[in-house]
Symmetry: C2
DNA sequence: GATCGTTTGATACAAACGTTTGAAACAAAC
DNA sequence: GTTTGTTTCAAACGTTTGTATCAAACGATC
């Protein structure tokens, strides 16, 4: 064998272009020809490297989406570690910052959440991978962080609903940019994203049981 | 002319089946043959009645989606009118109830929010219609209701962000049922939907400036 | 009951789809 | 320099796509 590493240029280009197109248009609206043209390679390359269009889609999640999700999670943990303690306020702000500003470029973030939203609404084979290896472990971490600061009477399910709601908002403000821009009249520049972080932090506080705290750091 | 009313059985069946399939699979994953087979009519019927597949899609929003959105809004206004006053608490609860329980069957609600989520992430011609005639007027109503109860210092944009966040949560718990069921282990039965209404009401309160109130009615 | 516009039906069409093929090009090993 | 395994390429495969065509069936009006 000659290689099992990840440095085949054609394969890399296919993954990049496939992800961008799948995120932008959805699986069925993208043709293999469109992907291979964008990746400047032959039509047969998809079937040679990935076996099928569907395998390529799943591989996009394994090789591109999941690593990027890990980077976002790390960004969240780092900015939280810089705080004195993990109060609901600091957790909420760190989460909003990681997912709305964080380590990703604007285009990366858009791709990331478009793909996520599509899988949320219509789970495929890729969702199993994403849920088991990325989302569930992260939610467990979040729950462990927040549990000590919980108000009495909030059970495990209630905590999960709160975490889901925070994610719903973060997801929405990323994947529905067009709608948000239309409703607010604002583009996603740095000022607006900072505003969104403030908003999400404040909005999430009550659910997280931190309504008695001050929002500003 | 023989008719301009809405009682052509074939046309109606086409709209029904098209909506169900578009919601379930997305525009590109559904073929005209699939729609006409489901509607038990000839292949040519789509082009005869709607001119093209794309027109049919837009017409689904005009003839099915929009009227249903109006029914949900009416349900919201009615349950709010039964209250003494439109406090943030009652508004939040009425909204959650209208969109999670409300007048729609479970399948209707699922269709409705699937289509909405798709248009949010990737707006088409249909989104213009939906935004201008349904969403924006409703948001204006909501803003007018909430404005008197606003805490000081919450500007127009902040109010819009709060409304968007409430909708993000409501949308998410409807269109991402599969993901929510996976994370919580709960099916969307009456008990869970009631739990979700409670959760959303409470979660939204801080953002809406009602954190000083009691949640239970 | 003949005539009209309207709706259905079977069929045809070119274009695009995902996938397969087999030969050419390539790089490394001997 | 030949051999070997890997990758790329143009071309073609059989299906399926959205749309067009046109005759048959229908329903009301005269």
């Amino acid at each position: 064998m000659s290689q099992n590493d990840e440095h085949d240029p054609t394969k890399e280009r296919l993954l990049d272009q496939a992800e961008a197109l799948f995120a932008q248009k959805g699986y069925d609206a993208v043709s293999v020809r469109e992907i291979t043209t964008a990746a400047r390679c032959n039509l047969a390359a998809v079937n040679y490297h990935f076996g099928s269009k569907e395998n390529l889609y799943v591989e996009v999640f394994r090789a591109r989406w999941a690593p990027r999700a890990m980077r976002v999670q790390k960004s969240f943990r780092d900015s939280l570690a810089a705080q004195d303690e993990a109060s609901p306020t600091t957790v909420a702000r760190a989460l909003a910052e990681a997912f709305l500003i964080g380590p990703l470029s604007d285009e990366e973030r858009y791709r990331h959440h478009q793909l996520m939203a599509r899988e949320m609404g219509q789970p495929t084979e890729a969702f199993k991978l994403v849920a088991e290896e990325i989302i569930q472990p992260f939610f467990r971490q979040l729950a462990d962080m927040l549990r000590p600061a919980l108000p009495k009477g909030l059970d495990k399910e209630g905590l999960m609903l709160n975490i889901l709601s925070m994610f719903a908002i973060v997801l929405y403000f990323n994947f529905a940019r067009a709608a948000v821009t239309r409703m607010t009249g604002r583009e996603y520049d740095e000022a607006f994203k900072a505003r969104l972080v403030e908003h999400i932090t404040e909005f999430s506080l009550n659910g997280l049981g931190g309504s008695k705290e001050e929002v500003s750091p």
